[in-house]
């Protein structure tokens, strides 16, 4: 097999694996590392469900090969908070009903975590722009907007 020796930091832990170059980063996270919180929707960069943080920047993990993550840092939904200790954004999503079925939620949370870090006091328009790369078929987005505003408030206090 045509293989690549990958060394990547995911959620703070260093992983070393031999992978096929064609392995997508999304599949690497789910199948090789068992981090199934990263959801795979469209696999061509439209739905945003598979968004992860790549060196802190939101990126589609279905539009990267695992080999491209060599020497980089990846944060997935599993790295944002835990069941016992949700991140402020996760807390706000729960409070404001920013999710229904939850399939798209990991992508929203990773995207918006980076967004709020860069822009702690976003306007309504900026929030809309920030989540324009993520599709949600349940909520109609309004509760997600509310959750982001609530999270910004929480994080600023």
């Amino acid at each position: 097999m045509n293989s690549f020796n990958l060394s990547v930091t995911v959620n703070g832990a260093l992983y070393e694996r031999e992978v096929e170059p064609r392995l997508l980063l999304s599949d690497f996270l789910r199948h090789d590392l068992g981090l199934t919180g990263t959801h795979v929707g469209c696999e061509h960069g439209v739905c945003g469900a598979c968004t992860i943080l790549f060196d802190g920047e939101p990126a589609r993990s279905c539009l990267m090969f695992a080999a491209m993550a060599h020497g980089h840092e990846v944060t997935t939904i599993e790295g944002l908070g835990s069941i016992d200790q949700l991140s402020p954004l996760q807390e706000a999503f729960r409070e404001a009903h920013g999710l229904q079925c939850g399939f798209c939620t990991p992508g929203f949370l990773t995207t918006l975590t980076a967004f709020l870090k860069e822009n702690p006091n976003p306007s309504e328009e900026e929030i809309r722009e920030a989540l324009s790369g993520n599709l949600c078929r349940c909520t109609g987005y309004q509760h997600i907007m509310d959750a982001v505003k609530l999270a910004a408030e929480k994080m600023n206090n």
Partner: protein, 292 residues
């Protein structure tokens, strides 16, 4: 959905990348941000047997001032970096204005300037504005280096003038001459979706306030960026009044472009959009030219 197998190289210098391209020719594809190439591979529309990953080549990622007042951009500089750069905003505002229209926030963190141009998608903003601005594109191969004017770089649908062993290494963005204005307008079904039609305009006034030069390039109006030569000829030497702008928009939408029909829009609707967008773009560009 899995891409077909390929051999993967991750060179750390341009020289090394060019060696791989020279060796593998048509079988190889350079991989920049991957935001177009990887979906095509996921769908198996593209099946390169060799990928040359350019993401580990620091010398390809930079933004620096050019001697002539313009800006030099390394080919793998990411859209987000370009969009946030103060030099870009000041010296080549059309580029700054174009960035928020490209893909989604997640695409802009990965996608690159050179990748977008090399992909030569006729609906890409950077493709059209590089033509409107008359950007020069520097291509390198192992044995040669050449500058290609953007107007000659896009030779067909998703086809650039690059040879298989050539790599686009730098985008040279010229400064706006004095008394110049710029504008980019597009219509898409959804925010951030591919534009149904768009137009980028760069205009320059002479000292009397007449149009000295106008360049308009359309996106999504043909198999490559389409320059509105006839409309530009009509504007030249004229005072840019509402009537003149209207006539230029008519000319551009009727004679300069030949858009197709598809599931997203009919050719007729695209012409209508082109007409309206050209008027808006010229209005804004001439207004800015008067202020500069």
């Amino acid at each position: 959905m899995k891409p077909p197998p390929f051999e993967y190289f991750a060179p750390t210098t341009v020289e090394e990348a060019l060696t791989h391209l020279a060796e593998h020719g048509y079988d190889a594809k350079p991989l920049a941000g991957g935001q177009s190439l990887i979906p095509m591979m996921n769908f198996r529309l593209a099946q390169p047997s060799v990928l040359v990953d350019l993401n580990n080549i620091p010398e390809l990622s930079y933004i620096r001032p050019d001697k002539n007042g313009g800006v030099l951009v390394g080919a793998t500089t990411r859209h987000k970096t370009v969009g946030n750069d103060p030099l870009i905003a000041k010296q080549v505002p059309l580029v700054h204005d174009a960035i928020p229209n490209i893909g989604t926030p997640q695409v802009r963190t990965r996608g690159t300037f050179g990748g977008s141009l090399s992909h030569a998608d006729p609906s890409a903003e950077l493709v059209a504005i590089s033509v409107a601005m008359n950007a020069q594109l520097k291509a390198r191969s192992q044995k040669n280096e050449r500058l290609i004017p953007a107007g000659e770089f896009f030779i067909g649908s998703f086809t650039s003038a690059l040879e298989p062993d050539e790599l686009l290494v730098e985008i040279q963005l010229p400064p706006l001459p004095e008394r110049s204005g710029w504008s980019l307008h597009e219509v898409a079904r959804r925010h951030n979706d591919f534009a149904l039609v768009g137009v980028a305009a760069v205009v320059t006034l002479d000292k009397k306030g007449n149009c000295k030069e106008a360049r308009m390039a359309f996106l999504s109006a043909g198999d490559r960026p389409v320059e509105a030569h006839q409309a530009a000829a009509l504007l030249k030497g004229q005072k840019p009044t509402a009537e003149v702008i209207l006539a230029a928009a008519e000319k551009a939408s009727t004679d300069d472009i030949d858009p197709g029909s598809d599931i997203h829009a009919t050719a007729e609707f695209r012409r209508h959009l082109a007409n309206v967008l050209t008027r808006r773009a010229l209005d804004e560009a001439f207004k800015r030219a008067k202020e500069n």
